[in-house]
């Protein structure tokens, strides 16, 4: 009896401490990276400004003025990449397979949300809805749709190729990606190529600072509620995913399948079902990111998945592919980096080089650099860390 009593509190005590730590630790890591990257990038930019301010007047003040705005831009972009990256990393962790169609799954989610908005508006139901309610509703519908789409793709485009050489399912994934782009384009029709999300009147702006500028008026640094919704929802998704993977039985089964597929089936785990569930979860996260994108940037088109997917995949690798927190961290670092390059390159070169064009170049250069010096990624371990 005494022995039994020992094991129970031991097990449950372990569980609750572990749970709390596992679920919340990633938030801490993310915070560290946000602050750290902002500081490092800000410092680099300031140093450059100081060096170059001999040739350009007002450069330093210009640089400083825009800094808070750039950081906010970077964070929003970063969370977008981070949320999409979660889908990539989850699937890679389980199958060691890069689902190149994931970007399009995200795009489909965006269209489903937008289509839902159109339909609700046509039924006259949209006006009566609280905007946040619409967002939640759209998220649920789009996440389900994207999840199911991902499962379907796995079933028909990847599973038959599971024993083929690695390159074959990869090519299949690229094919699926192209098919989805044009399928959505076809279904949306020329009049809805650019699909506009319903205007929810969410644009409340929360002012953070006011900075005096050389141009005269004060620069109001504010974050709008769409961006906040974006960031908060992404964080919630991360926490939920962490809980799922580390605490629930399903999550452990996913990790077991990721570590040793044959032995997992010896445990009574239906491996094909678990893989399908993994795709569902990954797809749902992507679809959710799509809706959030539509809510924030108001217009979606069939090609938003391509570049966003590529960048998010870069983010996942940057953070350590297979590592969930790594995906988020990678996304945020990448987003901040792109925002800094986009704005400051234009500023430093006086407009000769258009920043936004070279932002992608910078991201991929950093990717190459990280892979050369630290191939496992920012949060990865020496051996491929899986889910």
């Amino acid at each position: 009896m005494a022995v039994k009593a020992q094991a129970q509190p031991l097990a449950s005590r372990q569980a609750s401490v572990g749970t709390l730590r596992q679920v919340l630790a990633p938030i801490g890591q993310i915070f560290v990276f946000v602050v750290g990257s902002s500081l490092i990038l800000g410092a680099i930019v300031l140093v450059l400004a100081l060096l170059l301010s001999r040739t350009q007047a007002n450069l330093l003040s210009g640089v400083l003025t825009v800094l808070p705005l750039v950081i906010i831009d970077g964070l929003v972009l970063g969370f977008l990449y981070a949320t999409i990256a979660l889908g990539y990393t989850l699937v890679y962790g389980v199958l060691e397979f890069i689902n190149f169609a994931h970007g399009e799954i995200y795009m489909v989610g965006a269209f489903v949300g937008g289509g839902l908005g159109l339909w609700l508006a046509s039924q006259g139901l949209l006006a009566a809805m609280h905007p946040l309610l619409f967002v939640v509703f759209a998220l649920l519908v789009a996440m389900t749709a994207s999840g199911l789409l991902a499962v379907g793709i796995e079933r028909f485009a990847y599973r038959p190729l599971r024993n083929a050489p690695r390159l074959v399912p990869l090519i299949s994934a690229i094919g699926v990606s192209l098919v989805l782009q044009d399928l959505v384009r076809l279904l949306a029709g020329p009049s809805r190529f650019n699909l506009r999300y319903p205007q929810l009147g969410l644009s409340r702006r929360f002012q953070l600072l006011e900075i005096p500028t050389a141009a005269g008026a004060n620069l109001r640094v504010a974050i709008d509620s769409q961006s906040l919704i974006f960031i908060v929802t992404s964080l919630l998704m991360l926490i939920a995913l962490n809980y799922l993977i580390n605490v629930t039985k399903l999550g452990k089964a996913i990790r077991a399948v990721a570590q040793d597929r044959a032995t997992a089936s010896l445990m009574g785990i239906n491996v094909n079902l678990i893989i399908a569930m993994t795709f569902f979860i990954g797809g749902a996260l992507g679809g959710g990111a799509g809706v959030l994108f539509g809510v924030k940037y108001s217009t979606v088109n069939p090609y938003i998945g391509f570049i966003a997917g590529l960048k998010a995949f870069t983010a996942a690798v940057l953070g350590g592919i297979g590592n969930i927190t790594g995906a988020m961290v990678g996304g945020i670092v990448l987003g901040l980096l792109e925002a800094f390059v986009s704005t400051y390159l234009t500023l430093f070169t006086g407009g000769r080089f258009s920043g936004p064009d070279y932002a992608s170049v910078a991201s991929f250069l950093i990717l190459i650099g990280i892979l050369i010096f630290r191939p496992s990624g920012l949060l990865g371990e020496a051996t491929t860390q899986k889910v």
Binding site: R185, T299, S354, P356
Partner: protein, 475 residues
Amino acid sequence: MKRIASFVMLLVLLASALAACGAATPATSTAPSTAAGGTQASVAASVAAATTAASAAASPLAAATTETMATATTDTTATTTAGTDGTAVAGTDGTAVAEENLPDVSALNLSGIRIGYQGPLSGPQAQFGTTGLNGAQLAVEQLGEQMGFQGVEIAQFDDQATETVGASNANTIAADQNIMCVVGHINSGVALAALPTYRDANLVMISPANTNPRVTEEFDGTAYRLVGRDDVQGVVAADFAVNELQAKNAYVLHDQTAYGEGLATVFRDTLEERGVTVAGFAGTQEQSVFDAVLTPIQAANPDVIFFGGIYSTVGPFIQQLRERGIEATVLGGDGLDSPDLTRLAGETAVGTNYVSVSGPASAYPQAAQFSEDYQSQFNAPAGYPAFQAYDAAKACLLAIANAATEANGKPTREQVEAAMEDVDTFQGVTGTVTFDEEGDRSPATYYVFEVVSGDPENWGQNTVAGTVEAEPPAE
């Protein structure tokens, strides 16, 4: 060490590639501006001359009244000389175009003649492309019959607003020997890519919407246009910014296409001449996420933002601009002239100004019948570039008919090309159309609009803030 070395080598390689690109880009982007710069003085002079001739108002851009426009059109009609045989000048009282003397080729039993059409029929700019197609379609149906053709049809091609697709389609068009003439393109960049093929095939291209000067300058005898040019449009926009908007500080953007960059460059150069600060000049291919572009704008705090681009890009841009609380007035070119701008930007589009090379329906009294026919056939109001495409198709038909008459049978493309050069003037739904030796419309009219409603259905109600009539700049 090895890793560092290889990384450094990679960086050096990329840096040198960048430098090479950097050296190249300014050259190409300054080309239009130097050309524009050279002609700016003459444009300004001709603009001034035309408008003082047209109206008694001191400011070249007096607030629009029907009076101003009526005066302009009356003047033009008065100075028009009789055109090619059989196209006597008709009245300007809104009578249907059919009453004029069109050539009749029914005796020649011409069948199987096709007119090619290229424009974006799918994708973000589909609204422009399909509107143009509809206009051309209507022309071919109505005028083809009236002129006695045994069935003329449009051979439509979707260039997806993409250079490579347009050029590839041009090959297909050139191969089809039944195609005698081309109506298109909508995007200047795509036209420039396709024109070498048309020229080599002796195919005449008449554009309802290309405004970049290079289209006619570099393809003499092949390219014609029904609309004005960017080296005037940009000046008109700049003058509007200075005189009406009282801009002291402007930020200029473009979408990195031949059209957008060309127009933005003219605008910027003109502003600088007028002594206005240009706080920034940036190009972007971004279509959805404009944060990186908006942040520097927010910091620069301009009075006016000019965007040389198409509605599909500028719509979302305006939405995000306003969401950031930036209140500067937005100004653009004819690329914004589409109800889809408000479909994409909604209420935020209200107050946007744009210069267009196409006027409001009221500017085309001869188009009353056309507008009616268009509405009943396509279930949408006629807009830009439908009027222009109709006239472009008409020009094609006239040239083909005249060439056929001379050849006494089905003409060759060379004969159509030659006949087109002789089509000096004719009456179109956009008024009297006169081509100069370059193939430009001379004179052409430019309108400055303001968006009044967030509802795309009300696009036709946009108010005209000013009208300018001008000859294309002399070389």
